[in-house]
Symmetry: D2
Subunit: 283 residues, 4 copies
């Protein structure tokens, strides 16, 4: 089963799309291991839907080319992945280690089938974690013009053939240029259960409001800060006994696991970003 | 979208099955609204998988017959449903109202697209709930030989054309004959998070053990009591402050929502029972 | 254990308060069954805390008077309840039945130790549910000046000696006058996980944003609409397959259970509202 | 607030116990920061209860001695802790790193106020994690007679003044002698949601049964293997798409966070083990 292709595709829904694809796959004697065909309607009275597809099927010679040709002819948006090729991840981090270590360790453990090819940080705090696992660590201080900083980071990423940038509590705002350079290839973890408590000191806001849950949201980064398509969210219950410091601790735990889950979904090619601002996650 | 067919199918996995079905659907110019193709392997080294399919597609004249013929020829196990035909449910209940009312009210509210055609009970306690919603209520006391009791119940179910029996806290054990008469057509709610605390007074056992969660399990009824294929489970967190009575209260809440969810999955034709003792739920 | 007093108290924290109270209780030979003493600090460096207390102790002659005198002398805010006296609830509702029935049935079942003394609605839809359980149902249409409407409602509540108004999806805005007349005595269920998606059609907003959870918030009503002290919140996980209608269904389920839980906390005298805008819930 | 004492106490419930303690604390002009008084009854008709107390109060000269004397005179079981003294933990581990790293990192991050004084393992796999954080790592192979192995481990623990042994996936069975030597001072994480699926390969059992949740249980170790008092449990939802390998992955995640939470409760002195086989956790 490790020797498979994964196809993500999307188009305005119409009769026959899936049959076209299964036909080609079948013609090349490839077996489909999993197929999700989901048509999104806002509600049951909607006239027109958007089709989202995910196929996982056996790798067979020449099938790839044939499929690509066909999908292009049909004007269907698609991405085709070889499941044996690991996504190359750059982990960006500042001082806090929790999200960074969670992703690092899950990859190390083989739970997330990816490769952490480098760690980039504006601080030195997490160097030893990266290096103890053999991951090259680059200290790129943020006290230079953002343009220079980002140029350095892009050059590091390019050197390592990075496919995905994971902001594991990287506390610098990225420029629109940088973000657009890696469209839907940057995953962030937001320190709150969006859209709640946007802004400064969300845990203090949450404490003052007496909320009963702390949450976190992982999303693709767009130029609209913290508002990109949501990949994963989760919450942990709290109560009045949690002070601001304890809420932050819970926040770290939920941030770490939500980010790692989002990265897993991405590298398993389970996520399609729609035209608007949301994702389809074939979990 | 209400005018659709739903196909559930399963067979030993082989190349081309899904393409065969999409081909037929496409030939009749029917649009697929949702398709789940899942191949079950125990792990990544398993050689042979079992294929489970669920299709939802537009109703088109003659398509049904053509599809049925094809699936029969291919020796594929399948069920084909018309989504506009509501499942007719008989609700069986004893004294407790919680699971009974939850299913009744969700159906009444249109949340579960089904019809409660009758309520059957060995007690009178829930008559007013049934009748206030216009559901015929049959009191079938259990102080007669089980054979007679079940004969009466079967006759009531047949009179109402019952498709599904929901045991909403019906506290009598059904005979193997009765169960086999309605294979995979009886849904039960088990007063525990299986396989924990099987037997008498599970909440007392749970309290003595100091568990941190109370759960419930909804499953199809087989002749092996409380051991049929699981459709849905859930849990609610508790703590040391819950005495046995409070645990029972929480148990009722989780039972009610788990049973109602299981019934919803069933009537939406989202559940396939495999050859063993488990379900695939395309939720 | 049913014959107990419950004391809720709060004051600026200082040495000896709890000892003063336990001393008096002990002097009258009353046994304490449960005691929660919680001092709220924003964080570990805060200098001054606010003390919140909840005592449950055996009812003993003359103890009540003695305790009240003492707490008044010490200038401590307090409320003292007799646990054998059930809270008298008026259920306000509009057309939707889910929250209304959940509270009604939990009370009927003895899960919430309270008495529903009347139901008030601007519609007739829920009359049969109320009346089938023997609860007087008052239809107070909202097409009159709000002043008149609220005058009628107050008069109904006074006639029935109402202690608590539960807005179980009552879709009219109450005037500040009405709200102030029942300070911390009106519980609402908010159709969203506050502070998310405030405003019109929150489920459509949630769907467009692709959130992974639907939530609900129960709170005391203050003149600041939907912003009163939170008593209880909960969430249910959803995914991209939920359309707006399905999100609303999930929303109803979480609303119903969150509201019922909040009402239970209130009638068990487990909630203290602090000076700001939050609650201490000794769950 | 860091300069506090924490008192855990328990006895047959009777009038005046709490007042006795608050009286002493108050006499020494110490402020109580938090107090939980919980009387356990099986149900509301139980005649006799067991009292559990937890106090957190300011450290004041001579108060400790006075309190100890009094509690001894009253024959009350108690433990008195200085919150500024960190619990010294020995982490035992075999090959898997997940639970080990989670506890290690939470302590390192200051989330769990404790000190990891040593790591002990029958394998070398986790040496680099321990050593990169400056924790002495002892390789004690298990291919010797258990008596010798345990003797070495006890000697390591004694050398480091260990207060608590955390079995972070240490896959050797400890002798009764060892367990009794550290009564209620060994915390284990069980690879299942007890009492479900005890025995070999629980994840395969769970997969075959089609369960909808994977759980984990952290408990004190007693001579009755895997049956000691439960400190914490949690679950993560799964579905039919999880094969055995994926269930194991989820199992690791829930094991890691449940164990770390249990350790946090213990070192914050929030856990009392009752006479039977359960805990009171003042979370």
């Amino acid at each position: 089963m490790n020797n498979t292709y994964i196809l993500l595709a999307s188009c305005k829904d119409r009769v026959g799309i899936t049959n076209l694809i299964t036909g080609t796959i079948s013609k090349y004697d490839s077996n489909i291991l999993r197929l999700d065909h989901f048509t999104e309607y806002e509600n049951e009275n909607s006239e027109e839907g958007q089709l989202y597809l995910r196929f996982e099927f056996e790798k067979v010679d020449s099938l790839k080319g044939a499929l690509e040709k066909e999908l292009e002819q049909q004007n269907i948006y698609f991405e085709l992945f070889d499941s044996s090729v690991n996504t190359k991840i750059a982990l960006f981090v500042s001082k806090e280690d929790h999200a960074f270590n969670e992703v690092l360790l899950r990859v190390e453990r083989g739970e997330i089938p990816a490769e952490i090819v480098c760690a980039v940080s504006n601080h030195e705090d997490n160097r030893h974690f990266a290096e103890s696992l053999g991951v090259p660590f680059y200290h790129v201080p943020s006290n230079e013009p953002k343009e220079n900083v980002e140029e350095k980071m892009i050059s590091i990423c390019e050197e390592h053939g990075v496919d995905l940038i994971v902001l594991a509590k990287y506390m610098q705002i990225l420029s629109d240029d940088f973000v657009n350079h890696y469209k839907n290839k940057i995953i962030n973890i937001h320190h709150s259960f969006l859209p709640s408590f946007i802004g400064a000191n969300p845990y203090k806001q949450a404490w003052e409001r007496g909320v009963k849950f702390v949450g976190a949201t992982s999303h693709y980064v767009t130029s609209d800060l913290d508002e990109g398509p949501i990949i994963e969210q989760n919450v942990i219950r709290v109560n009045h006994r949690y002070d601001v410091k304890s809420l932050k601790k819970i926040g770290r735990h939920v941030e770490a696991s939500v980010l790692a889950q989002a990265v897993e979904f991405h590298v398993l090619h389970k996520v399609i970003v729609n035209n608007g601002n949301k994702t389809i996650v074939f979990d």
